[in-house]
């Protein structure tokens, strides 16, 4: 008996039904071949076949639209139940949050660039950064308007051509995906194209056109493309309209498969280039030599187009939404400044000076990173702390290495297992782990075996929902039931271990049996690999995550079974303090600086070291610079943190003495409350924050600035180079904000730009004597040749003794003799000594 079920729901996706969520839904529905599944958008009455991504996308379902799912067919009850379960549980979270793009009206142009008066065109910043190169205009990929078959059409033959082209194109993509040469972002985009290339609605339409109208395969592809692109074009969501390019990309490949084509989508770049296009297809982007690509300028293509997502993953400065790109011509030298969403079409000397200054800052930043890259994080008394990174893909390993990480302390493998309808094969995992090992170039990579269950579920494991998933069936607890899955993963890791230094880590261990089980499995696989003469690292380390408090008290018994421990503070904290972080009524009690928790950490580290086990920490607690005295004081061997935090942690280590830290840590462990621990840390912070208000490197007696804009940028950059600000552009804006109240030129050739700002980490005074006098709009209209820039760190309370220095300086400036000395003293040393004397520093 045919049955019909209906289910009403409201679209929960913030970006509506675009290709990615449609892909997820399609994959669930595709499993029920005997049922017809449709989805109607009640807000516009469009009905989609749920087995077609294009059709689903075309229904233009936006966040909040009411929809009806209809399932029809014989015995379709189970199908209905499964799909509804998906819509309720997985569907709301199957999309990534997309970054927001600033609109044109918010565009801020740095004052120096504004003063340079160069012609520029405006767009939106999609991937920030700047680059200079010659314009390469890429013609829009156009499908021919029609195809002349030249010979009589035989529908059977045309249908076969279609099947062959689709099969070939799919196999091309599959080969690319398996080649191990694509980044994970490239792979995701290619997977989406793979689904489009086999979309049922699209292929049905193509076949239908061939059969009913007797037209040739190419003509049918073109007409089907036009049909679907009309539907997509009508969509209100830009995200959906952008999918036209993906469809076009696939169609052009199919045409090429059938008819061959001289025009290749390979774009050859010779020398630094800025690629200008109406809309670049992902294939075109992938084909380009990214080392020659200085920037991208797209007329269309928003923040969510696959090409922009690819550009972001490669860090290519990209400006989109440029309305009038016709002013650009091939070979013209331009600068794409995506930080501000502009393209400068004609440079002049002043703008060149601006970009030279920006370039110097970039190089400086690179040099600072280079300094860390080769040096371990070391405290003032010479104790080292290994600083590693947390990653979820092999590509991130490369980023971690570039960011100065000494290895990967946590490779979460769940990404490989989630968001798909079958487990990844051993081969697929092997490729990923091998890439990770190679990218790390001999540095350790700790791969955590899959931690599924709890809040992380996958459709192909039969894990039922639980009332209390964090205390339920997850982590190492599911391994016996899914032994095959674990063996595949261990085998993949072992095989990849031949290409670098991999280590294995087991999550959520609560008793020894779980460890002995994985160990014996590992030994069996090693023997098996030896029989098959496959290479692997025979001394590969095995470790566990310390997340469940019970394991803390059997560390002695673990010795001999494992080689290392890594404290997973997020789960350890919630289990130890019995706090569900998601529960608002108790989340304030989730305190990573609870003295009891610190005491537990002390026990873990001390016991581990007593038994000669290496012990690290991954989890949020490790990544906060403010915790550094506690982490060093606890005596951890390693911390594993997010990639951007690596450099910050490394840089700060030298500020501490490990013995001081031990004292601080011991005081914290015996503190009465987390609040008291915070006070102990704050006290240390105040003591360490003493940076002199002025130093030699903040004095320049021959500053090369040609106008007020440059002088203010120069002072901001000076503070950046002296590690007093991380955000020179923000600091510059704060100076200008004050300048807009009234000019800080005070006559006598002096100007005192100043601000109270969050952008600096220490109160600072810069002294600039200029090579040439500049106009400042001073009180007496005389040009300025001495600039004294003052910055006060915002958030200080009145009564701060350091601030007295500024009022003293201000008072001195009113005196002729003081100004005369600043103008006439011979060298920087003399100026510094004079200021120190006058300001009683």
């Amino acid at each position: 008996m045919p049955e019909v079920y209906e289910y009403r729901f409201v679209c929960p996706l913030p970006n509506g039904m675009h290709a990615r969520p449609a892909n997820c839904l399609e994959q669930v529905v595709a499993g029920f071949a005997d049922s017809q599944v449709s989805l109607t958008n009640l807000s516009n009455q469009k009905t989609a076949n749920a087995k077609s991504i294009l059709s689903l996308v075309g229904a233009d379902i936006k966040a909040g639209d009411e929809c009806v799912l209809k399932v029809e067919g014989d015995n379709c009850g189970p199908a209905y139940k499964e799909i509804v379960r998906f819509l309720q549980e997985k569907f709301p979270s199957c999309d990534d949050v997309l970054p927001q793009v600033a609109s044109v009206s918010e565009v801020y142009i740095p004052p120096v660039l504004r003063a340079a008066g160069v012609p520029m065109i405006f767009g939106c910043s999609a991937v920030s950064g700047f680059g200079k190169g010659k314009v390469v205009i890429v013609e829009a990929l156009k499908l021919p308007s029609g195809i002349d078959p030249r010979e009589p059409v035989r529908p059977d033959q045309e249908l076969r051509k279609i099947e062959k082209a689709v099969a070939e194109h799919r196999s091309d993509i599959t080969i690319k995906l398996g080649s191990g040469r694509l980044t994970s972002v490239e792979s995701k985009v290619m997977e989406a194209h793979l689904s489009i290339a086999s979309d049922v609605e699209f292929l049905d339409r193509v076949r239908c056109l061939i059969r009913q109208r007797g037209i040739c395969a190419g003509q049918a592809i073109i007409e089907s493309f036009e049909y679907f692109s009309e539907i997509l074009k009508a969509a209100q969501s830009e995200l959906i309209r952008e999918r036209i390019v993906d469809l076009q990309d696939v169609c052009s490949h199919l045409l090429k498969k059938i008819y061959g084509s001289a025009a290749s989508d390979q774009i050859v770049l010779t020398g630094p280039s800025v690629c200008v296009a109406d809309n670049l297809t992902p294939s075109q982007f992938i084909s380009m030599d990214k080392t020659q690509l200085s920037g991208l300028v797209l007329m269309h293509g928003g923040n969510t187009s696959h090409t922009v997502i690819l550009a972001r993953s490669f860090g290519i400065p990209t400006v989109t939404g440029i309305k009038d790109a016709t002013v650009l011509s091939n070979g013209q030298e331009v600068v794409v400044d995506a930080t501000y969403g502009i393209v400068i079409t004609e440079m002049n000397a002043q703008a060149e000076r601006y970009y030279a200054a920006e370039h110097r800052k970039q190089e400086f930043q690179q040099r600072c990173l280079d300094d860390f890259r080769d040096k371990p994080a070391r405290t003032a008394d010479g104790v080292t702390l290994e600083v590693m990174a947390n990653v979820a893909t092999a590509d991130e390993v490369l980023m971690a290495m570039a960011g100065g990480a000494e290895g990967v302390g946590l490779f979460r493998t769940e990404m490989l297992f989630m968001g798909r309808d079958s487990a990844p094969s051993e081969e697929e995992q092997f490729i990923e782990y091998k890439k990770a090992a190679e990218y790390a170039a001999g540095k350790p990579v700790i791969i955590r075996t899959f931690d599924i269950g709890g809040d992380k579920s996958v459709s192909y494991l039969n894990l039922t929902s639980e009332d209390n998933p964090f205390l339920g069936y997850r982590g190492a607890r599911v391994y016996r039931e899914y032994e095959g899955l674990l063996k595949n993963q261990l085998r993949a890791i072992l095989r990849a271990s031949a290409f670098g230094c991999l280590k294995i880590m087991i999550p959520m261990v609560s008793c020894l049996e779980e460890v002995t089980y994985v160990r014996s499995l590992l030994d069996r696989i090693k023997t098996e690999l030896e029989v098959r003469s496959l290479a692997y690292d025979k001394s590969i380390s095995l470790g566990i995550m310390v997340e469940v408090p019970s394991i803390v008290f059997v560390i002695g018994q673990l010795a001999g079974l494992v080689d290392f421990l890594s404290i997973g503070t997020n789960d350890l904290t919630q289990y130890f303090l019995a706090i569900d972080r998601g529960n608002e009524r108790v989340s304030s009690l989730y305190q990573s600086r609870h003295p009891g928790l610190l005491g537990l950490i002390q026990k873990i580290v001390d016991d581990a070291h007593r038994h000669k086990l290496w012990v690290g920490m991954c989890g949020e607690m490790a990544g906060q610079v403010g915790h550094l005295p506690l982490l060093l004081g606890a005596g951890l061997d390693e911390v594993s943190v997010s990639i951007p935090a690596v450099a910050a942690i490394k840089a700060r280590c030298a500020e501490y003495d490990s013995r001081d830290c031990r004292t601080i840590f011991e005081r914290a462990v015996s503190a009465k409350s987390a609040g008291q621990v915070d006070m102990i840390l704050a006290e240390r912070q105040r003591e360490s924050a003493v940076q002199p208000v002025i130093e030699l490197s903040l004095i320049d007696l021959d500053a090369d600035c040609i106008n007020k804009e440059e002088a203010i940028q120069y002072a901001s950059d000076m503070l950046y180079y002296n590690h007093r600000t991380e955000k020179p552009a923000e600091l510059e804006q704060d100076f200008w904000q004050r300048e807009s109240v009234y000019s800080t030129g005070l006559g006598y050739g002096f100007a005192i730009p100043h601000c109270k700002t969050r952008a600096v980490c220490a109160h600072s005074i810069c002294v600039l004597r200029l090579k040439q006098p500049i106009i400042w709009k001073s009180t007496d209209d005389n040009p300025v040749d001495v600039v004294i820039a003052m910055t006060i760190r915002d958030g200080e309370t009145a009564g701060d003794t350091h601030m007295k220095i500024f009022s003293k300086l201000a008072r001195h400036i009113m005196h002729d003799d003081f100004r005369g000395m600043l103008r006439s003293l011979q060298d920087r040393q003399a100026v510094l000594a004079y200021l120190q004397e006058k300001l009683a520093l």
Binding site: V741, S807, I813, H815
Partner: protein, 101 residues
Amino acid sequence: MKFIAVTACPTGIAHTYMAAESLEKTAKELGHEIKVETQGAMGIENELRPADIKGADALILAADIAIENSERFEGIPRIEVPVQLALKDPKSIFAKVPNRS
């Protein structure tokens, strides 16, 4: 003559103190007595006490923002000027002395 003054500027970092210094310096040159209260980033310094206020001939307010505790000065002849004037032409301020009513 005996002056009292209050200086205050938007950020309270520089002009408040430059103006105070300038007023003190100029008063000395002109042979006046003066006490200047600064209301800057460090709060109120050199605060004007009732005794200072009582004996004053005039109040100079060199401020670009509303000052605190202004009710203290009721009934005192006052000269209100922008902070910048105290830097640019302080003598002109002292020339503006109003007559005590």
